[in-house]
Each structure stands twice: as C-alpha cells, then as structure tokens.
C-alpha cells in the first residue's frame, strides 16, 4: 500500500522559514487537497517532496524508503511524480516525444516503439491525440497542461502532486482534468492536489491539508477544515475584519 510519511520537515531560505516542521502521512489511494494562501509554502513543500530542494531538517519516507536526500530523478523512479505551477512542456519536442521521456527513463532496454500504443491511448483520453506529431510549443496553455498530465501517466508513479492544474484552464478542459484525476485515483494512486480553486478542491478531495506561513494548521475532512477557526483566520484575517463574509470564500462542498 502507498505510504508517504512527512516528518517535521523544515525549510529555510536565509532568515525566511518557509516550512516550520510540517508533518503528515498519506496512506493508500487518498485524494488530498493542499491549500493555503499565497506564500504559505505549498510549492516549497512540493519541491522538497520531489527532491528539487533539500529540507533543512526533517525526513520524508515513501513506501518505507527515505527519499528526502535523493535527487529528483530518483524520487520520480521511487514513485513520486509532479506537475509544475507554470506548465513546463518540452516545447521543441513533439507531443509523443514528451510522453516518451518518462516512459524511457523508467525502463532500460526499451525503445519508443514499445510505448507507442500506450502513449496514443493516453493522448486519446486527454483528447489531444490529433496533436501527437506537433511540437509542444504549438499547443495552447490548456493543452500543455494536459500534456504534462499525460507525461505523468507514462511515468506511472504511486503518488502524484498536481500543482494548480486548473489555473487558467477552459471549463471544457477542466472536465478532462477531473476525469483524469478520477482515473488516476481509481487506479489506486494517491493524489495531492494544490489549487486555489476551492470549488474543485471541495468537490474532488476527501481530505484537506492547510498550510499557512509554513505551518500545517489543519488536516482533516473538508467539512471540518472549512469550519476550523485557524483556517478561516488564515484565509480571511482577524474576526473583526471578516464581518459579513462568512466561510463562503473557502467554498462549499458539492457546489462545483
């Protein structure tokens, strides 16, 4: 069973403490939302988890293997994949080549031909199969997001971190991303979803983690988190400042 343990992870940049001892665990095919105001440390936490930056202290274990000291490619091979907040498709490589990169990186001795059928199935699912021979730069922003998601399917990790997958995406493409999330989750993979779109978070996720200035201030089901005073304060400020706003800004389950 998938088991990600994050223990007291701290990260400082000079005098700036971006993560202040974050601890949580992901077990099995959970679908978790990671939320927090801008500057809360969400992307830094993602970078620590995927090995892009090393934590100042604390440990990260994936399936009982310590991964916090590993470089990103080894973390990916250990079973943790991610997308980026700003889409990072390989722009001067074709759509198919974009998909072959993780597939070949994960399997020695195989060639692009061995993955052609799988890649085409994924592109059809993402509705961008007609673009298979186009360069990444020819795709729209939304299509590039889909391409990034497709690459993760080729990587086939145990845990996927999706960093703002809905940002700037047309509603039609959002439907495809919803279907993608369900497909991955139904296949027994865990997902950590980072988004400022609360409707999507509350619709999709069964558990929420809330970061605020590097502290994990809440961890629980959406309903509990939504009514957590610390979360409301983090999002809306002091009690006196939020008269009349209520918890609407945090969204409501099922209203997407």
């Amino acid at each position: 069973m998938i088991d990600l343990k994050v223990n007291a992870v701290q990260k400082s940049f000079g005098g700036l403490h971006v993560l202040k001892g974050v601890t949580f665990q992901v077990q099995g095919a959970e679908l978790i939302g990671l939320i927090g105001p801008n500057g809360a440390g969400k992307t830094t936490l993602t970078n620590v988890l995927d090995g892009a930056i090393k934590p100042s202290s604390g440990t990260v274990y994936l399936n009982n293997a310590r991964i916090d000291h590993l470089p990103p490619y080894q973390v990916a091979q250990a079973g943790l994949g991610r997308t980026f907040q700003v889409t990072r498709a390989f722009r001067r490589m074709t759509v198919l080549e974009n998909l072959y990169v993780p597939a070949l990186a994960m399997s020695a001795g195989k060639s692009q031909k061995d993955f052609q059928a799988q890649a085409m199935e994924i592109l059809e699912f993402l509705t961008i199969d007609h673009l298979r021979n186009e360069y990444g730069r020819a795709l729209s922003g939304g299509q590039q997001k889909l391409l990034e998601l497709g690459r993760l399917l080729m990587l086939d990790p145990d845990i996927i971190i999706l960093d703002e997958p809905f940002a700037g995406v047309h509603p039609k493409l959002m439907e495809i991303i919803y279907r993608y999330i369900h497909r991955v989750n139904d296949a027994g993979k865990a997902i950590i979803l980072i988004s400022h779109q609360m409707e999507s978070i509350f619709t999709l996720c069964r558990r929420l983690l809330v970061l605020n200035y590097g502290d994990l201030i809440a961890d629980g089901d959406p309903e509990t988190v939504k009514n957590d005073p610390a979360v409301i304060e983090a999002y809306l400020g002091e009690e006196d400042d939020r008269s009349g706003i209520g918890s609407a800004q945090l969204g409501a389950p099922g209203n997407a």
């Binding site: 892009a52 490619y73 990916a76 980026f84 390989f90 199969d129």
Partner: protein, 404 residues
C-alpha cells in the same frame, strides 16, 4: 516522397564526396583537396558543437579546447615517446618486454634540439633499433584525453547554465591556451610543435603508391572520420540519449522530475562531443604538420559557432553542411575585385561579409538557413494530419451527440 528528399540528397552528396578525389583532375587538385580536408575538419567540429549546444542546450565555448587537447596529446606523443631495443641510460624509460619505452626530456625551442635520445644514439653508434610508436596510438590517446577533460568539465559545469556556462568554458579554453604558450619548453609554444604526417612512409592503396605529402589518403581518412562521427551522433540522436539530452535543453528540472538522470546525460554529452572534437583535432594536426596555441583562439571558436548557427543548431547534418558551405564560401571570397578605381581587398572584407551573414541569420532565421529546409521535408504532412484528425474527431463528437 518529400520526406525522402533529405535522405536522397544525403546519399548523392556522399557518393559525390567518395568519388571526388578520383575523378577531379584539375591543376589545383592539391588546393581543392586541402579545402575539402579542412572542410571535413570544421564540419566535425560544428556538428559536434551542435549536438552539445543545439540538442543538449550546453552553450560551451570550450569546444576548440577539446580539439586542441586531441591535437597536443598526439603531438606530444609523436615528439616525446620512442621505443628502443636498449636502455638509453640518459632518458626516462620503462622496460617493455625486450624493448624500452623512452620518454624524452623537454625539447625546448632550439632550432637544433639535442635530446637525451640523441646522446644515447651517439653512444650506440647505430647498433640499437630506435622507432616511434604508431602515431595512431597518439591519436587514440588524444581522443581519450579529450573525453577525460570532457568528463571533468561536464562535472564542473553541472550547476551552470546559459551565460555562466559559456564564460566558464571560455575560461577553460583560455587557460589551456595560456598553459600551452607558457610551457614552451615542452610544447614549443608559438614556435610550434611539429608532427609526422598521417602516413610518414607513404601508403599503397590498390597498387597505387602515395607518398607522405599526397592529399588523397588524408582526404579519405578525414572523410571516414567525418562519416564515423556523423554516424555516431545520428545514432545517439535517435536513441534515448538524444531524447533525454533534448529534454535537458528544454527544461532540466522537468526532465529530472520525470525520472531522467540529468547529471549522467549532461556529463555524457560533454564526453561524447569532446572526444569527437579531440579526434578531429588529432587527425588535422598530423595533416597540417605543426600546431601552435593559436589553434584555440577565440576567433576559431567563433568560426565554429557561426558555422553551426548558419547551418542550423538543432540539426547535426545542417550544422555539418553549413560548416562546409561557409568554409568554401570564406575561401572563395578571398578573391579581391575592383569597382571602377576602387579595389576591394577581400582578404579583409570577407570576414565582414561573413559576420553580416551570421547577424542576418540570427535576426531573421534563428534556426539556421539549412535546418528549416530539412525540417520542411521531414515534417511535411504533419500540419495536414493534425487538421484532418481534428476534423475527424469533431465529426465523431457530433455524430455521438446526434445519436443521443
């Protein structure tokens, strides 16, 4: 059919180049052969730099330094290492079976050098066999030394990108040039280190005898080296290596997050391209017969960069052809001409035209002049295929909606 054009054109060009020395018979035969040999040399350098910079995104300005490492390694090997059938007693030597592997003392810059081996020869009075190891071992060592330094530089620049990488490698190149100039007791500095020709005793090919100064054998050696280097690079380009180094160029962090061992491939591309540059340098050094530290001046590096840029950085073939075309162009532009009473001295002005061509290419045709032509053939039909599939997909959706 259109997709086959580059392959057909390539085959015709190879046939032409293979037959050229045999069918060309004009009075300027040696001069034209010299141009082709040097054009192959630059084509190897430009295409390997295209693999490093255009494919892998590693904008190194130290490529000529690796070429020089190959040239100087074989040059030093050729000048300093001997095999003797008796101990000299005066040189550094290592017993090697019934032979002695002898390393000379620094030869210095004297016009009439007298080495420790010369002293031994006087004592032996002609009773001892003295011979040089095959210069091909020197070329092989040159390639290995190039690869070793490629590995070292590749490791050192792991965290450097863009301008920092360019400046670092430029620094390495200048340091090497300064060391080669400063250590003149060993390298003879600007006095130049002389090397034996590729076939010092001549060679017989299919009954035809060629002496050491004949161009034809060297033409085929350099042509074979060119073909081998291009074949190796194309094979790498089409393998996972090619895919991964291109992903490095596009986004190193994203490639790593997708499981690509970025460090390994970054170092590997430095090693491969350095070895290729060193091989070209080593063979060319034996062809020219003398090397000085000037072979790695910044102007030479700029020439290789310009050749690759004008041909097309993102294609090994385009960079190689671009190098050949530009080299011939530069050579033929040497012919001065007069307009009325004004004489245009093209020995100087040709570089101005050359610079202008590079600037115009960068401004208006950033992918080079040749690469877009190749790409328009190899990717012909892609746009039509995309549109057709999109239309077919839209029709299928409409049918599904209607069925509902």
């Amino acid at each position: 059919m259109r997709r086959q054009i580059p392959a057909i054109a390539g085959s015709l060009a190879l046939g032409f180049l293979a037959a050229f020395p045999l069918v060309y018979g004009a009075a300027d035969y040696d001069y034209i052969m010299h141009l082709w040999i040097t054009a192959f040399f630059y084509a190897i350098l430009a295409s390997s730099w295209a693999l490093l910079a255009g494919y892998a995104g590693q904008f190194s300005f130290g490529h000529m330094a690796f070429m020089a490492l190959g040239a100087y390694t074989t040059g030093l090997f050729n000048n300093y290492f001997y095999l003797t059938s008796a101990a000299t007693g005066t040189c550094f030597e290592i017993p090697f079976g019934s032979w002695y592997f002898v390393v000379l003392d620094p030869i210095g810059i004297s016009a009439t050098p007298f080495s420790c081996l010369d002293a031994a020869r006087e004592a032996w009075a002609g009773n001892v066999v003295v011979k040089k190891p095959s210069l091909w071992f020197g070329i092989l060592f040159g390639i290995l030394v190039g690869g070793l330094f490629g590995w070292l530089i590749g490791r050192l620049v792991l965290r450097l990108r863009a301008a920092y990488l360019a400046l670092f490698t430029l620094g390495f190149s200048e340091i090497l040039r300064s060391v080669l100039s400063a250590e003149l007791n060993i390298t003879r500095g600007q006095a130049g280190l002389e090397l034996d020709p590729l076939f010092p005793n001549g060679i017989t090919i299919f009954g035809a005898v060629f002496d050491a100064t004949d161009k034809l054998p060297t033409y085929y050696v350099m042509f074979a080296l060119f073909l081998a280097c291009i074949a190796i690079m194309l094979a790498l380009e089409r393998s996972r290596f090619g895919l991964f180094v291109r992903s490095l160029r596009e986004d190193e962090d994203a490639a790593a997050a997708l499981g690509v061992h970025t460090v390994r491939y970054k170092v590997l591309v430095f090693v491969v391209t350095s070895m290729i540059a060193a091989a070209a340098g080593a063979v060319q050094a034996h062809y020219i017969g003398i090397i000085t530290p000037n072979i790695l001046i910044i102007l030479q590096m700029a020439l290789v960069v310009a050749m690759a840029v004008v041909g097309g950085l993102e294609s090994i073939i385009a960079a190689a052809v671009g190098a050949m075309v530009l080299y011939f162009l530069l050579e033929f532009l040497r012919n001065s001409f007069t307009i009325g009473d004004v004489t245009v001295d093209m020995t100087t002005w040709r570089l101005v035209f050359f610079g202008a061509l590079v600037m115009l290419t960068l401004r208006f045709q950033r992918n080079g002049l040749l690469y877009p032509l190749i790409e328009s053939c190899t990717r012909s039909g892609v746009a039509e295929e995309t549109v057709a599939k999109r239309v077919a997909g839209a029709s299928a959706s409409e049918d599904a909606e209607a069925a509902k």
